[in-house]
Symmetry: C2
Subunit: 363 residues, 2 copies
């Protein structure tokens, strides 16, 4: 049975990438070694990490005055690293439009008990279950602040920020974990971007940070591993990096490039998500919890049927029919189709056919 | 050409493990997905991480009152996490017997500028280029201290601690990165053990922590990701873990078990390293920088020829002959044969034949 993997992350990877990785799993480029067995100080691995960075720079049009870091610990570690490096002695604003944005803010509050800085909740849509992107006035932002933090795509709630807000000249910082390389943002609009790899980049265990050089910390922070400056000065090789994950990311970057780059990905994602949103809109059985069309994510599409019971039945029957991991996040319920870059169009078409069939049976 | 990979880490992995991983790379256990594509909340991945923990408990005879954590960030992140969680308000002693132990101590000093605790240098062999394990008197240790930190195997210098020191009742904490599963330590002798995976466990990007429950922090630390208690309470799933690395570790644990467990590994490592040490001893061309036989590592065997020029020539010719990554660490020079669990006996025999030939030509 063909399966389609709608997981929100770790997520489906391009079949071409997996096949290539499998073919050279035991012997990378004639070295007689697996990529996993390469010393991170060896020439073959140095080439891998340099190519990964160079491809990413090309794909995202990263200006020369930005550093690219391949780190560990996920976006959750960035929730602490970011204020630890950028915010000491300053204000840091948070726009909380989803569960992960709330975690970023909560971790900043936790850190501020030890490190002197002031995390400020600039806007939140928590009162309406994060069903939209909250707005704010630029005039509410102190221009001396360290940054304004946003989450560009809310994985759980299915919303996204496409029109970037006015931040009164303060650097915009983004957790881009779930739509990096899926929507064609301009890096120069951000002071710092971070993303866990396990949605659009590669396997879990790699965290990408793209940071404008002038924002790098001038003073050492309390741990070398958490110090952007040290990581940047060492080209992500301060200690042993997650070598295999970086190799897989490089293969994914090559795949993205071969399909027209990030603009090509965005076009495909508009087509895939458009099909599903259009189907949901024309149905009076399914509905989207995100009412404002401009806030709808291209990557994570939550939807519900008329009842919790039917949602449960849908999830059970969908799983049996090969539509895997389509159950909504445990915190919100319903269904969620995560349609990242590697998710195929045929999978969306098959899902829509299944949804139509389910609707006909249970309407 | 057959190659032998003497890398100090990331290092050689068992061929059987790599072959199995390759065979199920595209379709794990009939899921239709790669392990890399499995949600970390899915049943197949939950089984993987539970089996990995269960196998490790069996292999290391880990008592029930110890937690096993699969984290990220390498031993270098533990240099900060350890004092952050265990040492606040207390003394923490460091035995510095090599470059990595020195880093652990240096990071503790760095952290102590923000978090109130007192890192104390208990003993050091730095004055003699870390050519031996320094000793100390138990009476020098305040029994109220948080821990005494040692490095069980010094990867760069080729020394190891086999007879554990008397710590006056204070918990012994060990960086076991380069000889975990290679020498049969008793976990109950330690309060906490940590290890980067990339030598004897699996690919880089997984960090193992084994910690006695009563040592877990009672108060939250400044970052949830750095909080042992939070990681333990969430079974290493507080955020997305490095799923593929944990899967590879599980395969390595199965392989270790199939070969007689850690005792079986230790016996093989004694045989492999014994052959090389015996050859070096009988030669008056090669010599070991570690004079005290009881301090010699089973895993990392540094050696030198009579001159820097001959060392350089040896490294060049060895590489050309397929003996890869045998050059000593950039900080010490010479040669270093890292003979971890997965390194085959034939590779040691082939190296000795090459060394004998080189000696005959250049004596």
């Amino acid at each position: 049975m063909a399966i389609y993997n709608f997981s929100a992350g770790p997520a489906v990877l391009p079949k071409e990438v997996l096949t290539k990785a499998q073919s050279e799993f035991l012997d990378y480029a004639g070295t007689g070694m697996s990529v996993m067995e390469l010393s991170h100080r060896s020439k073959p691995f140095e080439e891998i990490i340099q190519q990964a960075e160079s491809l990413l720079r090309e794909l995202m049009h990263i200006p020369d005055n930005y550093k690219v870091l391949f780190l560990q610990g996920g976006a959750s570690t960035q929730f602490s690293m970011l204020p630890l490096n950028l915010a000491p002695g300053k204000k840091a604003y948070y726009v909380v439009a989803g569960s992960w944005g709330k975690k970023a803010y909560t971790e900043a509050i936790k850190l501020s008990k030890t490190i002197a800085f002031e995390p400020i909740l600039l806007a939140s849509s928590e009162d309406s279950n994060f069903d939209h992107i909250p707005s704010f006035e630029a005039s509410a932002i102190d221009s001396d602040a360290a940054y304004v933090h946003i989450t560009t795509n809310n994985t759980i709630e299915g919303t996204a920020v496409y029109d970037l807000p006015d931040t009164n000249g303060v650097p915009l910082v983004a957790d881009m974990s779930s739509n990096i390389l899926a929507f064609d943002y301009q890096v120069s609009d951000f002071g710092l971007i971070y993303a866990g790899a396990q949605k659009n980049i590669g396997p879990a265990g790699v965290t990408l940070v793209v940071v404008r050089e002038d924002l790098l910390n001038d003073s050492p922070v309390l741990s070398s591993m958490l110090d952007y400056r040290i990581q940047a000065d060492n080209g992500s090789l301060y200690n042993t990096p997650p070598t295999y994950g970086i190799y897989m990311a490089k293969l994914v970057f090559e795949w993205v490039k071969s399909l027209g780059g990030v603009a090509g990905m965005e076009a495909k994602n508009r087509e895939k998500s458009g099909l599903l949103y259009d189907f949901i809109e024309q149905s009076d059985f399914y509905s989207s919890p995100v009412k404002d069309v401009k806030d709808r994510s291209l990557c994570n599409i939550p939807f519900v049927s008329p009842s919790d019971e039917l949602d449960a039945l849908f999830n059970k029957e969908a799983d049996a029919a090969g539509f895997k991991n389509i159950k909504g996040h445990r915190s919100v319920g319903g269904m969620r189709a995560s349609l990242y870059n590697a998710f195929p169009l045929e999978g969306v078409e098959a899902l829509i056919a299944f949804m139509a069939d389910f609707e006909a049976k249970h309407k």
